[in-house]
Structure formats: C-alpha cells, structure tokens
C-alpha cells in the first residue's frame, strides 16, 4: 500500500521520525493490535495506537461503563455510563482517526476463545485487571508466537514488560500464580488516574516499536513507575527454566519447544 496525500499529512510527525518514514507508516497501517480490556490501561494505550495509525485495533471487554470508571478511563465519558465499554471506546477511537478499522469483541477472554481471537492480531496489549486473564494471554501468546505487553497498576504505581515468545521470560516466569483471593487491588486501595495513563502510553509506545522493529523492547526488563516519588525503576527479569508455561517441562507440553 502507498500513503495517500491525506495520510502523509495526518502522520507527518511519525514519518519524520528516524526509523519510521513513509515505509514505517505504511507498515503501521497494515498492522493490527488487540487490547484485552477497555478500561484504564486501554484508554491510554488505545488512543495512542489509534493516533499512531495502527490500521486495525481490536477491543475486547464484556463490561459496561460505570461512574467510578470515569476517574481514569478516559476513553469513556459521562454520557456513556451504562453502555458497553467496547462500543464507547470504538466510538471515540473512530472519531480520533476515522481511517482505522476498530473491531469490538464484547466478550471476556477465555481459554476457549483466546486462540482464535489472538491469532487475528499482530500484537497484544494486556489491559486487563486480573492475573487469570493475563495467564490466558500469556499461554495463548506463547502457543501462537505472539508478542504481548503486560501492564499493571496499583494505587500510585504501575509497571510493564514485554513478552516476546522465544526471547526472555514469559509472564509466568515472573508471576507463577494468581494473587491470593484476599489480596487488595485498586478496588480496595484506589489508583491515581494518571498512573494507568502513563503505563498505557508506554504500552502503546512498546507496541509501535515492536511493530516497526525500533529501539530496544522491554524484554526481560520490568519498568516500574511511582507517581509519588516521580521515579522510574528497572528490574532485570530472568526466564525460569522450570516455568510451567514456557519451560521445557511445561504442563501439557507436546513436542519439546525451546524455552523462552
């Protein structure tokens, strides 16, 4: 595909970037990204992916907009309360960039649908709010060889890292199991709205970099942000040779595959 004159204007500031150019923009327009979750992280990530011109975006969430969402889920507005999040989100993303294809999946990610859904996209952005869903994303992406970007927030801090199957640790190398049922999350401790905003924007940047082969990805690098001290930290991550998801002796392994 070749950029139209309108597209060269719209994406001028992408095109000017060293390493992107018109070829890179064409590549983005031909790429696709799936956002699992349409809440706090997705609000920021989806906006920046749409603005960058990722040609096809998938939004997956079975939830409806509630008033307390509006404190951080900036894809939605007051008039959307009661509406399906994916529909509200799609409307805003199409308004921002009518040239994109925005696909909505008003359902929850499950082990049964994950393979079919994720196979349809080039990269996956984890915008979920629970580790059970994250493990489904992790295991499905490992199976399909899809890259995904984990993101999580709590109170005043957030973090992210990128899982590229075959390179570096997967999610379960680092978080082997779900938190205890009673462990407090944002519902109990709160979350500052700008924090998922920051992490979601970083996820979008990582996704664009991945799609274009730019820069250095957060493979094996946990990037952590704290709003209170306004600091960023990085913790190096190692693959776990005994990982149940990606190690050679993983559960349900068929033929041996290289560990990540």
């Amino acid at each position: 595909m070749v950029l139209t004159p309108e597209q060269t204007v719209l994406y001028r500031r992408n095109i000017l970037l060293s390493g992107i150019g018109e070829n890179g923009q064409e590549r983005l327009l031909s790429s696709s990204a799936l956002l699992v979750g349409a809440g706090g992280l997705a609000s920021s990530a989806a906006y920046y992916l749409a603005a960058a011109g990722v040609g096809r975006l998938g939004l997956m969430d079975d939830d409806v907009v509630e008033p307390s969402n509006l404190q951080r889920q900036i894809l939605h507005s007051a008039k959307d309360v009661g509406r399906a999040k994916v529909e509200s989100a799609a409307e805003k993303l199409r308004a921002l960039n009518p040239g994109l294809c925005v696909e909505i999946l008003r359902e929850r990610l499950t082990p049964d649908n994950a393979g079919k859904v994720i196979a349809g996209y080039d990269v996956v952005i984890d915008c979920t709010d629970n580790f059970a869903s994250r493990f489904i994303i992790n295991d499905t992406c490992l199976e399909l060889g899809r890259t995904f970007i984990y993101g999580g927030v709590l109170a005043f801090s957030g973090q992210l890292f990128t899982v590229v199957p075959g390179r570096g640790p997967c999610l379960r190398c680092i978080f082997p199991r779900e938190p205890d049922a009673g462990a407090p999350g944002c519902e109990q401790l709160g979350v500052l709205g700008a924090v998922p905003g920051v992490i979601g924007a970083l996820q979008a940047a990582e996704a664009v970099k991945y799609l274009l082969g730019l820069g250095e990805l957060l493979i094996g690098r946990l990037l952590i942000f704290d709003a209170l001290t306004m600091t960023f930290h990085e913790v190096g991550l190692q693959a776990d040779p005994d990982c149940p998801s990606c190690g050679p002796r993983r559960m349900g392994a068929g033929a041996l595959r290289p560990s990540c």
Binding site: G37, G39, G40, L41, A42, D126, C127, T128, D129, N130, F131, R134, G151, G152, V153, L154, A155, F156, S157, G158, Q159, C173, I174, F175, P176, P179, D180, G182, A183, P184, G185, C186, L189, V191, P196, G220, I224, D226, L228, T229, T231, H233, V235, G236, L237, Q238, D240
Partner: protein
Amino acid sequence: MNLDVRVFGGLEKLLSGVRFGESIPVDVAAGATVRELLSVLGIPPEKVFNVLVNGRHAEMHTVLHERDRISLFPPVGGG
C-alpha cells in the same frame, strides 16, 4: 550475609525511611530464606505477591546468598 533489597508498589510504606525502589542493604544470617528476610524487614508475607532474586522469581522457602539482589512486590494487577 549482605543483601541488596528493593521494595515496590507501596510495600515501602511498611518500612521506615525507605523510598520506593530504593536499594537498601540488609544483613541477615547466612542461609536465610526469603521468609526470614521478610521477618527481619517486618513485612508480612501475605502482603508480598512476588519476590525476584537476581531477576528470577523466588518462593518463601528460597535460600538467599551473599549479595543477592532482591525485589519485593505486592500484586500490581489493576488495569
């Protein structure tokens, strides 16, 4: 033995004078486990969702070694 410990995600509030992500030197008995380290620090184990030792996840019973770099997190799972 000397350990390098960093705490994140609000766990720093459980320690006095410690900043988010700041490296703090901790001295524990040789052969101490993660659980024993948490006890020395005064962090209830149930508040810790994951422990990384030199970048690898560790369990409560994992034995620590001199100059291990340990990072402690609550569940950072919101989205």
